[in-house]
Every structure is written in structure tokens, then in C-alpha cells.
Symmetry: C2
Subunit: 557 residues, 2 copies
């Protein structure tokens, strides 16, 4: 096997934040065996993906090699690492491995998509290893904002690779295992073959702070607030939920949890035993019996999601709870780029209600779950890798971590989604590129990003549509006039019959002047009608819509 | 006229950032005479306003009173203050007043919309006053990021009001007049009746820095850069263009300007004589003769606009100029909330090219054009108003400035768009509410936000469309089968004829089973077809599209 290669191939997460999916392969060219690390999703937006439910990596490459796919490893239970599992599993059909808490969430993903939850194998932490073909994979506990997050220690004949997953260098993360330099050093030994390392916070210059640093300021908010306190954060940030709940308890407040996702995460935490130090939670139905000044409400929707508890509380009310002047709303979270407008909407609605808002601008009530620049450098030092592979980040983040590494005299490679890199040698070698597209869950279908469906939606949203129905005798003579229905285009209401009426008259008059050859050709007729529509719409509305023409030809009886 | 009231009524800009439009009225109820301050626009987005070109205030209220509208005053030439002038002028037909530089831009707005530019009257700065009915209005020079920005001094029988416009407390703004506390104090005398004051930066706790503070750091960037330097900022931030050009000249770089908007603003500046200290600009066609290390390119598109020079340079090339490793790209600007994703796209494209990016995170290369919290307080102190009316800002900004004022023992009122406030007495009195909607420029039409046109576009984008064409004999018998065309919905390609085929079969079969009464009723038939479409689409695509049914009934010959 001297011609065997150790391949790193990101399909998602490298060149973006979110949608993590990484392949590792080992073997001679064309005979590699593969494992997948993480099956994450990312979220759609109106600008590029209207109507789409969820976005995941295009797995054509690995699906075509599914017979040599040995297993799927999930590092932790965040949506951008586990969210696509149930949707993609039927195309992969390989056993899934993860730790207990992650397994609880992963099995739920499988169940909700009609897959067999028993395909998810719960395994122990390092030093336990899963042996699959040329790979031995261990889950090394590492600190992040969700319990049991694990870096993967991937042993191969070409050496040991560490895939950090999302991590932070927090020795007191509240919930989940602490960052453990000794453990990392002992696993790295004289140095790893390769370190594949989280890049998202590489532009944050100061060392990351600890979860333990923020309980004091949060406790002060809870104590000083006169009325009700609502706090929001990511539902899956269980460490933060515990910090908030603990601060509330210290301040004499009972804790209520609003929102499905948060309740599910707490249930997962309790069921798997990772939440033994969590203060008691009051059932929602008892919430109204507690004086406002003795209550903390934990609410979903820190990113301004319209249907989450926070947005509903800001807009109106939720479960009978209405906010008012004297109440306090704490964002114990960071606004993800792209969500500023949605979050701003909530801030203003709360302002209208007279609620005191404490947002994330002060940095006192939130710490990130990711390693900052000095923490990333520390990880490089602890593991002393032959090769540094920045992962999870936009291109600029990957590029900045690679720069950091090379400044320290290390070898690094920037490998965005689809880049196939041999990381088994002394230096990384880019050995090919794979089409790294996106797959959309749309309703109950998986569609390709380039299928044209979403493109048509965007065109309709920008330009509106005009549909024209024509009926013609078999000799080409029009029966009645054209029938036009427009949608999403300004109506020319000052004109008789509006825009549709004007379009019908123009088409009818063009049809009258058309010769027999045109009338007998669907293609020519469609062109004639489309041109008439464009002409009139351009004049009356100033834009050209999407025109579709339905030509019905009557058969001779 | 003892029953006369002095009315402040914001139609735009109060409850949002952008789209500034404020009314002032004076007179007895029902007989008020009015002036308008600013006619701004705001920009659409795919989420709420797909396909819309520009958004402006709904002017129904003042249009209905246009016979008592005395004049339109424009404080400065930013789009969110002057952008709607040409579109709204035909409905208002009142004379426009502004200073020379603003007038150059305002006349261009009029020309481009087919209005008479001579309706724009250029007037001198304070102490000159325009006398219109009960109002005497003076343009008091104040510092901002565009030349000749002016606070309006509005004298009325009920006292003197100052409308600050956008301003900053910068005594060395580079271009345009400095902030002049003595002038403000002298105009305020013992105290204003009301101060209507910019709120946008009320959450910035430190005093605003001066434009003069950033030329040093920018000069360092220009000197240290090895290759080409591209700098972007708002096209209309002429002070910044001058700072950048001056720093370039100091660093031995020639200046080229790319982008229509920037060239127009410089032309306006030169034509009106406000730019006498601007370094020479090299024509674009000579750009390639200059070594990269001796060139600064000023480029439009600091907010990531897809068609602007910056985006094109990041994507590919612009005017034959291609960026490469060793070049530097400087964002001398702040990213406006909502534009993070577009700007991020550029950052990553530049990263892929190996271009060094200096973004706005360091705060060393940009200062805001707006007054920070201490500057706002200084304005309150200088003018000592009976009433403080926070304007230009989201609700939370207005509310925060009002809180600031009341903490100092002043009287303040939060009046979002549509709130009619009598500011002529000792305390503000809310005397009514006006529907404060939005008008969209869509192609060549002005449409109302609630007309349903945009709602239909959003529904099409989220759900897709299905159009069904049916032909029926006059007795109700279907002629041929149904014809279905779907757009923007996942195709069921595993089924014969795909989604459209499945829909046609279902509709045909339902029609076969339908009774004569149903077949003869358009309404019943439409319901039957819509239900069939929803059923099949829900099953095969997992979502219900917008269905439109075109029923053609053949007449008996």
C-alpha cells in the first residue's frame, strides 16, 4: 500500500460558516475507503434561496462511493454538524458514531425523517476508539457550547490526524468537558501528522474568555432588574442556559423555559445525564403564579427568528405572557451576520413596549464557543502538527489561520469545499477538485441548487409573471380573445381593464395581423405573444415579467 | 390665531434609519400651512420588497393638503434625504429650497424623472432666511459627511425650532463647514422652542472622532502597501474621498475614481466650488500607465452592492483592472446592518485572490458622520430647548435620546412616523396619528406597500406557482385534458410527465367524476382544480403552490 494516500476533502464548512461536512479517505487511488465527519446544515435566505427549508452539502461524490463509506462520525449536536443526518442517511447507509448526548439528538433527527434511529451508535470518549478499515477514530472531549463536543483523533497508516471540531480553550465551560491541554499534548505526542482546526474566530485577537466569566455580570442584571427578566440565547447553548438559570436562582428568580427547541435540548441533557447541576425549571403553566420580579424566562429566538418565543414576546405575547415597561430583555448571544435586521426588529418592538433591552454590544453577557486567534495558536503549539488544515470558516478565515501557521514556520493549506488534499506526506498536496454544490430540502424533496427551481422563484419575485391562454381553431384562427392573468406586477389601474386588459387587447390585435404561418406555429406564436407582453409591460409597468403562454389548439371534430 | 398649533409630523425617518421626511405645520386646526423637510428614500431587500426599485414615504396626507404646502426644504444631498424628490414632486408641486451643492444633486434628481429642475431654488446659508407664510427658514451650516449639510432654523409665531438634519460635532470635517458651537449658541439664544435632533448614533458612548483623525492611519496604509491600493466608501462621502485622495498623494500615489456615483459626486463638488482642495484625479483611461504601487483606486460599492465597482473588482475585473496578490483593499466605511452578507462576499472573493483586506473592524480608517451620545447631549446643552424631539433613528434610538434628555431634566417626546405632535406649547402634545405607510417605485410605477403586488411576489417566491388551463364545451364537457404549467416548485421527475403530468392526470380524473353543476360553475370548478393541485403538490413536493386556474368556455357556434 505504498501508493496509498490520506485524503482530506471538505464538502461543506470550508469556505463558509455552517454546513460542516468533511471526508477523510485512505487507500490507493480509486480504492480509497472513506469516513464522513459531520453532516451539517445551513439556513436559507430570501435573497438566494426563497422557499427552501434547509441547505446541506451536495453528496454526489461520496454517494457514488457509498460502498466504500465505512462510517459517519458526528462531533457534536449543533445543527450545522448534525442537522442533515436524517435527510442524507438514506443515500449513504453507513453506520453513525457519536457520543451519548449527540446520539440523543442524532437519533431524533433520524426518527423525524423516518430513518432507523438504531443506526446511530453511541460510543465512549477517548481512549476508546472505533476501528473501521484503515481508520481508528477516537472522540477526544473538548470544550464548546454544547455538551460532549469532541475532537476526533483519527489514526491511519499515514499517521494521526486531529479534527478539532468546533472548540474553545475554556477550562470552565460550565457544561461539558473543559479544554484539557495535557490531554491534547499527550495525544499529539511528538507531533500530529495533521491538525484540522476550527477557523471561525481567527479574527478575534484576544484570548477567548470563559463561560465562568459572565455569570457575575448576568447575576447583577437579574438582581438589579425590577420586573420580569427574559433572556435569550441559542437553544443548543446548554452551558449558557445553565449559566442563566444559575444566575437567576442566585438572584431569587424561578426559571421558566419557552420554546420547543430549548425544551428539547434540556430534555436531551437530562436524559443523558450531562445536566446534573441544572437548577429546577418551573412548568410553563405555573409561570403566572410567580411574581414578575421573581421570574426568569429563557426564550428561544436569539437570532430574531419570526416564529420563536422571543419574536412572539416582542411582537405580542406568548403563552399568555406579555412584556411591559419595567421588564428586562437580555440577549446573551451574538447576532450572526445576516440576522441583524431580524434582531433589530425585535429590539425596536421591545423599545415600543418600554422594555429595557440589554443587547450583545457590551460583550459582558456572552462568550463565544469558538477559539480566538491566540487559542488557535495554542492548539497549533500543543499538537505540533506536520500540516495545519484550517477548516470551518469562510475563505478569509481559512486563509488567516493558514497565514498564522506559516508565520510560525508551519506548513498549512487552504482547502475550500471540494478541494481534495493528500495530507499523508510531509507537505499537503492538492490532488484534485470535486464539484462542491449544495442540496436543498424543499418541502419534502431534495433538489439541487442548480436545478433551476429556485432561480425561477427569484425571477418571479423580481419581475412578476404574466400567463396568457390562447385557444385556436385547428386552422389557426383564434377562438375568442387571449386571456391574460398577471401576478406580482403593478396594475395599470388608470387603464380600462387594467394591465391585463391592455395586454389582451395588444395580443388580440397582434394575432389579427399575424399570418397563417405564424398562427400555425406554436413557437412563432409564443414569440409574438411574449413580445407583445414585454412591450406593454415595459410601457405600463416599467419592467418585463416572466411570460408563459399556453396555446390550446382545438382538434377538428 | 391664538388657537394656532405648531405641528411636527414625521412621515419617514422616525422609527427607521433612512427615508427621512418630516412635515412642519402651523395654523388653526384644519387650516395649517405646511412645509416639508427632506424627501428621502430607503432601499428594498429580497425579504420584504423583492423587485422594488426604491422605497419612499407615503405622502397621501400632505398630497391631500398640497394647496397649503408652501415649500420643500432639503437639508443635504444624501439619498435618504433627497432621493425621492423627483418621484414625489409631481404630487406636491411646491417650490424646493436648498443650498448650492445640494441643489446640484436635487436638480439632477428632477431632470432624471422628467421634472423641471428650475423648481429647485438655491438659497444662501444662515443668516439668510426663506419666508413662507408663517415660516421663516434658514440653513445653518453644520458638519456631516457631505458638503453644505444644514440644520434648519425654523422660525414660527410659536417660536424657533432647530431641525438638526444629520450632523456630527466635528470641528475639522475636511470638506464642508465645521461644527460651530458659537453659531449654534447664538442662534438658540436663551433657548429654542424645540430641538428636533438626529438620533442614529445615540448608542455610541464615546464622543465622535474627527475626519482629521483618520488621515494619518490611512496614509500609513497607502505608504506601507506594496501593490495597488483600492479604497471604498460611500460615493457621497466627499470628505472621505478627499481624505483618501490626500493620503494617497502624500504617499506618492495617483488617484483614479471608479464608479458612476462617485464621479457624479465629485463633479457636483467641483461644479459648486466646494472641492477646491481636492487632489487631481487621473482619467481612468490612463490608469494602466501608472505602476500599481503608485496608484490609489477609489471605488464605489462599500456596502457590497453587486453592480458597483468594488464587487466587480472582487469578482473579476473592472475597466480592465484586475486585483491580485500583493494588492490592498481598504474599507473606509461602516457596514450598514443588513449588508453584512454582501460585504462578506466581497471579503471572501478578495481573500481568494490573495488581496490584503483592511475592513472596518479596527475603527481606524472610518469615522461616522453622525453625532454620538455625548455630541447629542452637547447639542441639547447648546440649544437649551423647551422640547427635545428625537428624529432619524429606529424606535430604540428615538427612545434612547428621549431618555437622555429627560435624565437632564428636559422635556422630550418619542414621535415615530405618523405621530402628529403640537410642539408649540410648554410641553409636547400628541394630537393625532396619520397612516404612515410606504410607497414603492416599482419599474416606472409608484405602488402602495399594501397593494398586494409585492405580497404576491413573496408568495410566488416561497411557494412557486401552478397555472391550469381548462377548455370546456358550453355544456360543461372538458375539451381535451387540463394543461398544467408549474414554475418554482420541485419537479417530480421520477413520475411519468413529472409534476405537471401528475397534476394533469389528477385534474382530468376529478373532472370526469364532477357533476354537471360543478362543471358549469367557474367558482366550483376553480375550487375543484385548486384542491387537486394542492393535494398532489403536497404529496409530491411537500408544499402548496399559488394556483391559478384559467377556465375557457367555448361559445356555441
Amino acid at each position: 500500500m505504498s501508493d496509498a494516500r490520506l485524503i482530506y476533502l471538505p464538502l461543506g464548512g470550508a469556505g463558509e460558516i455552517g454546513m460542516n461536512m468533511y471526508l477523510y479517505g485512505y487507500g490507493p487511488e480509486g480504492e480509497e475507503e472513506w469516513i464522513i465527519v459531520d453532516t451539517g446544515i445551513t439556513f436559507p435566505d430570501m435573497e438566494t434561496t426563497p422557499g427552501v427549508d434547509v441547505i446541506m452539502a451536495d453528496i454526489d461524490f461520496i454517494q457514488a462511493r457509498a460502498d466504500r463509506l465505512l462510517g459517519i462520525f458526528i462531533t457534536h449536536a449543533h445543527e450545522d454538524h448534525v442537522g442533515a443526518l436524517g435527510h442524507l442517511f438514506p443515500k449513504l447507509l453507513a453506520p453513525v458514531y457519536c457520543r451519548k448526548f449527540t446520539g440523543y439528538v442524532a437519533r431524533n433527527k433520524m426518527e423525524r425523517t423516518g430513518q432507523d434511529p438504531e443506526q446511530v451508535n453511541v460510543v465512549g470518549a477517548w481512549p476508546h476508539q472505533v476501528k473501521l478499515g484503515p481508520f481508528q477514530v477516537g472522540f477526544m472531549p473538548i470544550a464548546h457550547s454544547i455538551p460532549e463536543t469532541s475532537a476526533l483523533v483519527i489514526d491511519t497508516p499515514a499517521g494521526r490526524v486531529m479534527h478539532t471540531a468546533d472548540f474553545k480553550a475554556d477550562k470552565s465551560p460550565g457544561v461539558g468537558e473543559p479544554f484539557d491541554p495535557d490531554l491534547i499534548r499527550s495525544i499529539a505526542g511528538d507531533g500530529l501528522q495533521a491538525l484540522v482546526c476550527d477557523s471561525t474566530n481567527v479574527f478575534s485577537p484576544a484570548p477567548g474568555r470563559s463561560e465562568a466569566d459572565i455569570i457575575g455580570p448576568i447575576r447583577d442584571v437579574m438582581r438589579e432588574a425590577r420586573g420580569l427578566v427574559v433572556a435569550t440565547t441559542f437553544a443548543s447553548n446548554i452551558a449558557r442556559l445553565r449559566t442563566l438559570a444559575q444566575a437567576a436562582t442566585d438572584a431569587g428568580r424561578s426559571v421558566v423555559v419557552l420554546g420547543r427547541a430549548m425544551n428539547f435540548m434540556l430534555e436531551a441533557g437530562h436524559s443523558t445525564g450531562v445536566l446534573d447541576s441544572f437548577p429546577p425549571v418551573v412548568p410553563v403553566e405555573d409561570m403566572h403564579d410567580i411574581p414578575r420580579e421573581n421570574l426568569l424566562v429563557l426564550a428561544t429566538g436569539s437570532q430574531g427568528e419570526r416564529r420563536a418565543a422571543s419574536a412572539q414576546l416582542a411582537r405580542d405575547s406568548y403563552m399568555g405572557l406579555e412584556l411591559k415597561e419595567g421588564d428586562t430583555f437580555l440577549f446573551s448571544s451574538k447576532t450572526i451576520p445576516g440576522n441583524e435586521v431580524s434582531v433589530g426588529r425585535i429590539l425596536n418592538q421591545l423599545s415600543e413596549k418600554g422594555v429595557t433591552v440589554i443587547d450583545d454590544s457590551s460583550d459582558r453577557y456572552h462568550v463565544s464557543g469558538h477559539a480566538n486567534r491566540p487559542d488557535i495558536l495554542q492548539m497549533h503549539d500543543l499538537t505540533n502538527p506536520k500540516i495545519v488544515v484550517p477548516m470551518h470558516g469562510e475563505h478569509r478565515h481559512l486563509s488567516a489561520q493558514a497565514k498564522l501557521a506559516t508565520e510560525q514556520g508551519r506548513t498549512a493549506v487552504v482547502a475550500p469545499n471540494g478541494t481534495m488534499v493528500d495530507i499523508g506526506g510531509d507537505a499537503p498536496e492538492i490532488i484534485g477538485y470535486v464539484e462542491a454544490g449544495r442540496t436543498y430540502l424543499d418541502g419534502n424533496q431534495l433538489i439541487g441548487a442548480l436545478d433551476g427551481v429556485v432561480r425561477d422563484r427569484i425571477r418571479m419575485a423580481l419581475r412578476g409573471t404574466v400567463t396568457v391562454s390562447l385557444i385556436l381553431e385547428s386552422d389557426g384562427r383564434p377562438v375568442d380573445g387571449a386571456w391574460v392573468e398577471s401576478l406580482g406586477i403593478a396594475d395599470a389601474s388608470h387603464i380600462d381593464g387594467g394591465l391585463d386588459g391592455a395586454l389582451e387587447r395588444e395580443i388580440d390585435s397582434d394575432l389579427e395581423e399575424a399570418n397563417r404561418k405564424t398562427l400555425l406555429s406554436d413557437e412563432a406564436l409564443e414569440l409574438l405573444v411574449t413580445r407583445a407582453c414585454n412591450r406593454i409591460c415595459k410601457a405600463l409597468a416599467g419592467k418585463k415579467p416572466l411570460v408563459s403562454v399556453m396555446i390550446n389548439r382545438l382538434e377538428l371534430d
